[in-house]
Symmetry: C2
Subunit: 335 residues, 2 copies
């Protein structure tokens, strides 16, 4: 297939079925690893929670090895980018090929949650074609939530419920957005207490989104709620469900978001850059680059009496951009 | 029964079965209300998301009316305190009677989530005796998570999995806690941008917990992750599972926490005041007052080589107290 320039629909459907089965099987591996830890008895000494980190790394690697070998057996010509194999290379270059077929896989997103037996972890499998996510399969086995999507075909929860959650018509975003919205965000791993560092920029942005209208020198957004799950993949999936209205985050990687972006777009959502442009009120709302590490996602939105769904999304993007600060997560090869 | 001074074990077991069935039935009502909204078609005009607030209030009231009438039919002498009926009274007094049997019910915790079709909502039913929560039944139907507990009997997920998640032995809290912990917190409803108001005090406290060790003038706690679900009840349930290590919150009410406190204590957790005493390093770690609106919860913790589980919890309480600010959620009749 790698030699062909176009991807046929029947082929895409077959790859979709294969990806969904992979996500189911990998999800079972994650669940089994948790059950093993939860139920295990230790004859002497004590299980220090910190030591679970090693176990988790082993699970990460086992699940990625399973997914990679399954893909290589069925589609030997496809490129493969997985979190664990990527991390072993020293480069931080963006490696999804701009042409042809590739897979972008996070065997375990929400690792901290997994370590703590907290339900918000999942496997994330994306198939890309010419650099674009075409198929997404996300399985959160403890939550019993399987999210799947195929370009042009739609997005589903547990294979039967259309996203966004079967609503007809899909509600527009609130006229006063971000007021009335659920805002999802993550504290992330950069915890340096540097006055202008990412942690302070993030929390200033969270505060702007949360504070009353008129507060924060006019930047108060008075969102309906602020949520943090600790999984970028699930944040995107919950946007696709319509459960989160807005997700704003910097610092995650392509394997964290590739399947989720496919899911969200198929459900009717929008993903652009977390970092506000120089003129947030007029700059075009461009699709986020998969490797940009900076994402602002909006849930699917229906038309209102005065705007199209896309217009309500773009209006909300600009209102978020007006309230958030630039984050610094640059990498070589991606602007 | 109200006339008796002691509660017999057989009676408690019967009330437990009744409470669990109530939580199951009420959970089905919540799920049906969501499915009705998710699947409904509107012939003309548009479904404004904001208007869903009315629907939710109706669901709140319907579920509470069902629970209240069920209890009154079976236990006519028991006192009843539910969020909806309480809110209709003008008083903010604490109404759980100090003697005899009573029920403390939130028909729908996580209302904002429910409005947004976000999975983190639940019904919370507690039975108290002489002011103490004896039975808790919490049902999060979209998550398919039913949490139940009975004083002296234990705590369970979906009636079969013992909390904290069947682990044997239960791990102690990390030696360097709060480092290594999952910290759960909520942004809440008080969004006033007042320099020394609750929003700023909360976010300063969150920042202290999140920032690197040595940062924030020595208050950096470098927690492993910061989570916000938007439901106090589920925060407590997730502590009881062992998924969250620490939950710190002010502003919620007794119906938000009564069942969760019963659950967490039965699992082996601890609940004390969110507000640090004058001397956090030596003050006794007292049980939180059910009506205090200020809660700091610690997950169940096993013994380490050098400390009992209770000692690791108390040590962690003091480390949290050292990093958080006083919150102001006073009410008449409760210190």
């Amino acid at each position: 297939m790698a030699a062909r320039s176009a991807l046929e629909e029947t082929e895409l459907a077959e790859i979709h079925r294969f990806a969904v089965q992979l996500a189911k099987d990998a999800g079972q591996m994650l669940l089994a690893a948790v059950e093993l830890r939860a139920g295990k008895t230790v004859r002497e000494g004590h299980v220090e929670k910190e030591s679970a980190v090693d176990l988790v790394t082993q699970t990460d690697e086992d699940v990625e090895a399973f997914i990679r070998s399954s893909i290589q057996a069925k589609y030997p010509s496809h490129a493969f980018c997985g979190e664990e194999s990527y991390s072993k290379g020293g480069s931080k270059m963006y490696l999804i090929p701009p042409t042809g077929p590739a897979w972008c896989v996070d065997p375990l997103d929400g690792t901290v949650n997994f370590i703590h037996l907290c339900p918000f972890y999942c496997v994330s499998i994306a198939f890309t074609w010419n650099g674009e996510p075409m198929i997404g399969a996300i399985n959160a086995p403890f939550l019993r939530q399987l999210f799947t999507a195929c370009r042009g075909q739609g997005a589903w929860l547990n294979e039967t419920i259309s996203l966004p959650l079967d609503r007809s018509p899909i509600p527009p975003l609130p006229e006063s957005a971000p007021k009335g919205c659920i805002f999802s965000c993550e504290w992330g791993k950069d915890r340096r207490d540097v006055p202008n560092g990412n942690l302070h920029r993030k929390v200033n942005s969270f505060m702007n989104m949360a504070a009353e209208l008129g507060g924060r020198d006019g930047k108060g957004g008075h969102v309906h709620g602020v949520r943090s799950l600790g999984s970028a993949t699930l944040d995107l999936a919950y946007c696709a469900m319509g459960s989160f209205d807005i997700w704003w985050e910097g610092g995650c990687w392509e394997w964290d978001v590739a399947a989720g972006i496919c899911l969200l777009k198929e459900a009717g959502g929008l993903v652009t850059s977390a970092n506000p442009p120089n003129d947030p009120s007029t700059a075009p709302v461009l699709d986020a680059h998969l490797g940009s590490r900076l994402y602002l996602a909006l849930r699917p939105a229906g038309d209102s009496a005065t705007e199209t769904g896309r217009q309500t999304q773009e209006r909300t993007v600009r209102e978020v951009w007006r309230r958030v600060q630039q984050l610094d997560y640059n990498r070589p090869g991606v602007q």
